[in-house]
């Protein structure tokens, strides 16, 4: 019963009969057919066998006899039939071994299957009564039964049809097989005459022809209609002997000489291609698609007979005249097939008429385009010989051909590509393009999904994080949204955190390391200075003692000294004023007014030493001793005379340096020097700066040290203080000043730049950048400033911040020097810009940083290459890499 239901459902379901259910259903049916109660034998029993072979036989052949009796006979007939058929079938199976695509001939399906299976309803109901069965068979008589099964997975016989014309005298069973590979209706018609194998083959050919014709005529006339005129089917019933040799391929519309060639043709590339195209068209858009796809180009003409689309009337005429067309016509005449009129069919066929009309309305005639791009090649007499299309790069001799070309698709495509991008060109959809389009759609989908996912991620991941952070940080704006500087340069005034080293930076730093004084040199200098300072203090104490020796016993001096030591400050190494006054003494000096205050109040390091600008090879440093009163020559002489004694006392007996003390009255200074270092000790006093009234000057005229020298020494004090407060704190500033000092030593054009002016200049330049500069940037910016004419006469000058009135720190520079300095800076600037900073710094160019940027991008690569050349890493780069490596691999690849 279930099988019957299945069958029933199947008949109405038509082509949708599924592969999965096929075997089960048929299995059930087979059992049903041989069962004793099987009146069902009146209708076709199907056996689906795993051997890849199927049978269908029509029990209606035995309708003269009782259904019960013939159930058995039918089985017997089937086996006999099987034997005769097997050879053919194996062949067919071998030829079309693959799985089945969808039903290729929907029209056939619709017209043929329906009428056949409207009747089985009566089968199902009237299975028990023979009359009913007869009646049902009779009802089916004018048509025929057709069964379709489309099995996709396992079966090699996917489509099957059988016809039953039970009342016919010939008792013919039309058995139609639609092999999957051809996709066209290749059918076999079978009589129930058992064992008549010779007849079988003959009939097979005839039937195949018949079906081919049927399927061809199907769209227009319909199978049924065709069939009705002669139920006897004279042509097929008694096929002409010739037809046996005629193997006609319906898809390709050619005939083959014999079964062998026919078979070969069916396996051939050409045939398969065509078949695929037909199938594609069918799959693409149902019944009308075949025509529609083929005739996409509007206005084209189609030869129905040969299934050839021509682009124009001329081409069509040429085709009709052509040998190929003639051949087909001949063949068809021979086969007795209907020959469509030679009137060209407009593309799309009848069914597409309205669609086509739309096309016609939109584009009545293809406008020739690109007339300008076709040049005429003329003969000497001015007659046009040939034409050359510059867009498509092709030639024609015929004006007609030129016209055709201008309307043609290829030309239009070129025109669209090269001249007018919005020109509409109908595109022929090819397999390739379709595949591309599909792939593209697929990619788009994937990408969209990816974006969607990422967005989700952003929303739920980062977005929240960000909001939260904003919340907790309150009003603090992230730096990148910070207020913009008043001019629109990017990167200025923004704290970008750590910036990677540039090549310029590395050069500057390398040079800096070169010119920076060595440890030994610094030690020498510091020892000499410290000794001098302590000796001076000792001297100061001695002077003070001698000044008040009546009242103060000598013992106190020792106490004072001890006090000082308790302070922990033995010399001026912190670059601040090293006061000689003891704490108690300070208070005392004010209270005991009668006492003469200390003549030497303190000493301070100034100049290079104080600023930390010493370079390699510098051996002169400066100290300034502040005196209570105007320093006099007498005092200076006293200092010069006593200092050696105190020096010897300070440094301890028998120690290395042998200090030599010189008196330089013109400088207002004493020079203390040993083998390596010269310490210039200048005497000055704050009093010198006060406006000197005439009387004072007259009084000490002879004795007082030169005023200018004293003032210079005072200025040096202020400069040192300014430097420590302003310049030393700026990033890169001290480095650049050292570099510039080196420059001044090397290059004559730069020599006139005095060191204080240079410090002012550098500090100003670095400070005005508004952000921390790397050494390379700072040097370049300095060059930019000088090159831009900062130091020329019309410039603002370098205001001395250590003077009350406006003083130009570089005021005394002669014009030619300024000019030369500017020119030199300009040259340097361009050299820096063009990666020749080594020329500016007078050094060897450093090799390019190996991993300056790439490594950051590809950490793995850096790690590997680093292990290779760890040893010849030119600078500190290697160190950083190493730490990183350590953290990366957690010491695994450290040996």
């Amino acid at each position: 019963m279930m099988a019957a239901n299945n069958y029933f459902g199947f008949t109405h379901g038509g082509t949708q009969y599924g592969a999965a259910t096929a075997s089960a259903a048929y299995g059930g049916q087979t059992g049903y057919a041989v069962a004793p109660a099987a009146t069902a034998a009146t209708y076709g029993t199907q056996r689906a066998a795993a051997t890849g072979y199927d049978t269908a036989y029509q029990a209606a052949a035995a309708t003269q006899a009782a259904a019960h009796a013939h159930a058995h006979a039918a089985v017997a007939a089937a086996s006999a039939y099987d034997a005769s058929k097997s050879a053919y079938y194996q062949q067919a199976a071998a030829a079309y071994p693959t799985a089945a695509p969808p039903q290729p001939q929907p029209t056939y399906d619709a017209s043929a299957a329906k009428p056949a299976y409207s009747t089985p309803a009566s089968y199902a109901q009237g299975t028990y009564s023979q009359g009913a069965a007869q009646r049902g068979a009779a009802a089916a008589k004018p048509a025929y039964g057709a069964v379709y099964s489309a099995t996709t997975a396992t079966a090699s016989y996917p489509t099957q049809a059988y016809t039953a014309t039970p009342a016919q005298t010939q008792k013919q069973i039309g058995r139609m097989v639609l092999p999957t590979r051809t996709g066209s209706a290749l059918s076999t018609a079978k009589t129930t005459n058992r064992g008549n194998t010779a007849y079988d083959t003959a009939l097979y050919n005839a039937a195949s022809m018949y079906v081919a014709q049927q399927s061809k005529a199907a769209p227009g006339t319909g199978w049924k209609n065709y069939k009705t005129p002669g139920t006897g089917q004279p042509r097929r019933a008694k096929p002409p002997p010739k037809a046996q040799q005629l193997h006609y391929c319906d898809v390709c519309r050619i005939s083959c000489a014999g079964p062998q060639t026919y078979k070969e043709h069916l396996e051939g590339q050409k045939h398969k291609k065509k078949e695929a195209a037909v199938k594609l068209a069918a799959a693409g858009g149902g019944a009308s698609a075949a025509g529609g796809a083929r005739g996409a180009a509007g206005g084209a003409l189609r030869c129905e007979l040969c299934d050839v689309t021509c682009t124009g009337a001329d081409a069509y005429a040429a085709h009709v005249r052509g040998i190929k067309h003639q051949k087909v016509v001949k063949l068809h005449t021979m086969l007795g097939k209907p020959i469509p009129s030679t009137e060209p069919t407009k593309v799309g066929g009848d069914k597409e008429k309205d669609e086509e009309k739309e096309d016609d309305d939109a584009e009545p005639e293809v406008q020739p385009v690109g007339q300008d791009y076709i040049e005429e090649i003329r003969a000497d007499d001015g007659k046009a010989l040939s034409f050359n299309c510059k867009l498509c790069d092709c030639k024609f001799n015929d004006p007609n051909a030129k016209e055709m070309h201008m309307k043609g698709r290829r030309h239009r495509l070129q025109y669209k590509k090269k001249v007018q991008p919005d020109l509409e060109v109908k595109v022929k959809p090819s397999m390739h393009q379709r595949k591309l389009a599909e792939a593209k759609a697929q990619r788009m989908m994937v990408r969209d999904e990816l974006w969607a996912r990422r967005r989700m991620h952003d929303v739920y991941g980062q977005g929240i994080e960000e909001d939260e952070r904003m919340y907790w940080e309150g009003g603090i704006e992230p730096w990148w949204r910070g207020p913009h500087h008043h001019h629109h340069h990017h990167g200025m005034g923004m704290g970008y955190g750590r910036r990677p080293e540039t090549s310029d930076d590395r050069h500057v730093l390398t040079k800096h390391a070169e010119i920076y004084p060595g440890d030994a040199q610094l030690q020498h200098i510091h020892r000499a200075v410290a000794h001098t300072e302590r000796a001076l203090k000792s001297l100061s104490d001695a002077l003070a003692d001698s000044a008040r020796q009546k009242t103060v016993p000598a013992k106190t001096k020792v106490d004072d000294k001890k006090d000082d030591k308790a302070d922990g400050k033995e010399d001026g190494r912190d670059n601040q004023l090293f006061s000689f006054l003891a704490e108690g003494e300070q208070a005392g000096s004010t209270s005991t007014a009668g006492d003469a205050p200390r003549a030497l109040k303190g000493v301070m390091r100034v100049g290079l030493l104080a600023k930390g600008l010493l370079l390699k090879g510098d051996r002169d440093v400066q100290l300034v001793v502040l005196c209570h009163d105007r320093p006099t020559v007498t005092l200076l002489k006293r200092v010069a005379a006593d200092l050696p004694h105190h020096l010897a006392k300070v440094k301890g007996p028998g120690d290395e340096p042998k200090y030599k003390v010189e008196l330089l009255p013109a400088e207002g200074a004493v020079q203390v020097s040993d083998a390596h270092v010269g310490v210039l000790v200048s005497l000055t006093s704050a009093v010198v700066r006060e406006p000197a009234d005439g009387g004072d000057i007259k009084r000490d005229d002879k004795d007082v040290l030169p005023r200018q020298k004293c003032l210079d020494a005072l200025a040096a004090l202020r400069h040192a203080k300014w430097f420590q407060a302003r310049a030393a704190t700026l990033q890169s500033c001290v480095i650049i000043i050292r570099i510039l000092r080196d420059l001044c030593r090397r290059i004559p054009n730069w020599t006139p730049l005095n060191s204080y002016a240079m410090e002012l200049l550098t500090a100003g330049v670095v400070q005005s950048a508004g952000a921390a500069l790397s050494p390379g940037e700072a040097l370049r910016r300095l060059m930019e400033a000088v090159a831009g004419g900062l130091l020329l006469e019309h410039g603002p000058g370098l205001r001395d911040p250590c003077e009350k009135e406006l003083v130009d720190a570089l005021g005394n520079m002669p014009p030619q020097k300024r000019e030369d300095l500017t020119a030199s800076a300009q040259q340097f600037l361009r050299q820096i810009a063009f990666r020749q900073i080594h020329k500016v710094l007078d050094m060897e160019p450093l090799p390019k940083a190996k991993h300056a940027t790439g490594a950051w991008k590809f950490p793995r690569k850096r790690r590997r290459s680093n292990t290779d050349n760890e040893h010849d890493a030119p600078n500190g780069e290697g160190k950083i890499v190493k730490t990183e490596e350590k953290s990366d691999c957690s010491d695994t690849n450290k040996k």
């Binding site: 090269k418 500017t822 361009r830």
Partner: protein
């Protein structure tokens, strides 16, 4: 420890890359603007009386009047431009049987549009945006059509005929006393379809599109008349000194605008100050590699105006400006401005000159085509 964390993908807002190194993202340009004395004023307060610059100011103004086109010239250009605009507009609106190309839009650009035309150069520029692709034939067709139509108008008016000649940028319609260059370009989406042998050059076409953007930017931002004065002066100066010739008008526009307007007060600076500033900036390496230069407001972010020049030209331009700066500082502005020809028309930026005993000498180029390529890329981008 990851280096460069501060500028990696995490530091930039809006990038979803969670801690993943930005592989193909261009590295952030971290360039410094050059030293600009005007902006660094607080660090370098003036400590001596400002020099009397009235001589320079007067010379600048005098030269400017010489450079301004006369009213008759302007009228001539105006009339020709108007006619062309009419003709082209007609083609845009109603092409009729004209099929050589389809026009999208017609715009006036360049010095005429900006009001920075120079005397003696009565050439206006019009950019025609084609809907179709700019093949040479299309240009020729348009040229013929325009020629015909303009001549019709001219005949009706009774004035002289015009001639139209094609060149690689479009075509030029030349009248008796004025000329209009019609620059051809195409829609932006068509740009990638350009083929070198069929169409006009890609660079030319995109430069014409850029010209439209430049005109618009100028109209919106740089219309101050001081800018225009400075533009004329600088263009004149650049045209007379070989090293500065490669500077494009657009660069000069940007430079002039920067010099006039970009100061803390946002008020136009006096012309003499701006002129000195322009020279000083150029001498200070504004247009050298590794400098932030002037950001191009009409291009994508971080694009710098001076990258249009090749390295040798950048070097030469900077060197020339540096020499001129020193010449002007010695009082040689008459020669620099072109008020006096220098020794029979020699280029003063290439000669050694003596001013009150001070020798000013030109500079040698720093850029050399070294065998190992100087990859400024590294330098530019860090």
């Amino acid at each position: 420890m990851v280096r460069g964390i501060g500028r990696g993908g995490r530091g930039i807002p809006g990038r979803g890359g969670m801690g993943r190194p930005p592989f193909n993202r261009p590295r952030v340009l971290m360039l410094r603007p050059p030293f600009d004395l005007l902006l660094a004023e607080p660090a370098f307060p003036r400590c001596k009386p400002a020099p009397d610059d009235s001589v320079l100011t007067q010379a600048l103004l005098k030269r400017h009047t010489e450079l301004c086109p006369s009213p008759t010239d302007q009228a001539a250009v105006l009339s020709l431009v108007t006619k062309l605009q009419t003709v082209l507009d007609n083609i845009v609106v109603a092409p009729g049987e004209f099929a050589a190309c389809q026009l999208e839009e017609v715009r006036q650009v360049g010095s005429y549009k900006k009001g920075t035309m120079m005397a003696g150069k009565n050439v206006a520029d019009i950019v025609v945006i084609m809907k179709t692709l700019p093949t040479k034939e299309a240009v020729e067709g348009l040229s013929n059509k325009v020629n015909e139509e303009v001549n019709k108008l001219m005949k009706a008016e009774g004035s002289g005929a015009v001639v139209s000649a094609c060149h690689e940028r479009g075509f030029t319609v030349t009248g008796t006393s004025a000329a209009v260059r019609v620059l051809i370009t195409t829609l932006h989406q068509n740009l990638r379809k350009i083929e070198p042998d069929v169409h006009l050059d890609y660079k030319v076409i995109s430069s014409h599109l850029a010209a439209i953007r430049h005109s618009r930017w100028f109209e919106e931002n740089a219309h101050h008349s001081s800018s225009k004065v400075l533009i004329r002066l600088l263009r004149d100066m650049c045209s007379r000194h070989s090293g500065l010739v490669p500077l494009t008008p657009w660069m000069i526009d940007l430079l002039a605008h920067h010099c006039i307007m970009n100061n803390p007060q946002r008020q136009a600076l006096p012309i003499n100050v701006a002129f000195r500033r322009a020279l000083s900036l150029m001498a200070g390496g504004l247009f050298l590699p590794g400098c932030a230069g002037l950001p191009d407001p009409c291009e994508a972010a971080h694009s710098r105006a001076h990258t249009a020049l090749d390295l040798a030209a950048q070097d030469l331009a900077a060197a020339t400006a540096q020499t001129l700066l020193r010449v002007v500082a010695r009082g040689g502005h008459l020669y620099v401005l072109g008020l006096q020809p220098f020794e029979g028309g020699k280029d003063i930026s290439l000669e050694i000159t003596v001013w009150d005993g001070v020798v000013v000498s030109p500079l040698a180029p720093a850029y050399n085509d070294s065998p190992e390529p100087m990859d400024t890329d590294d330098k530019d981008s860090v």
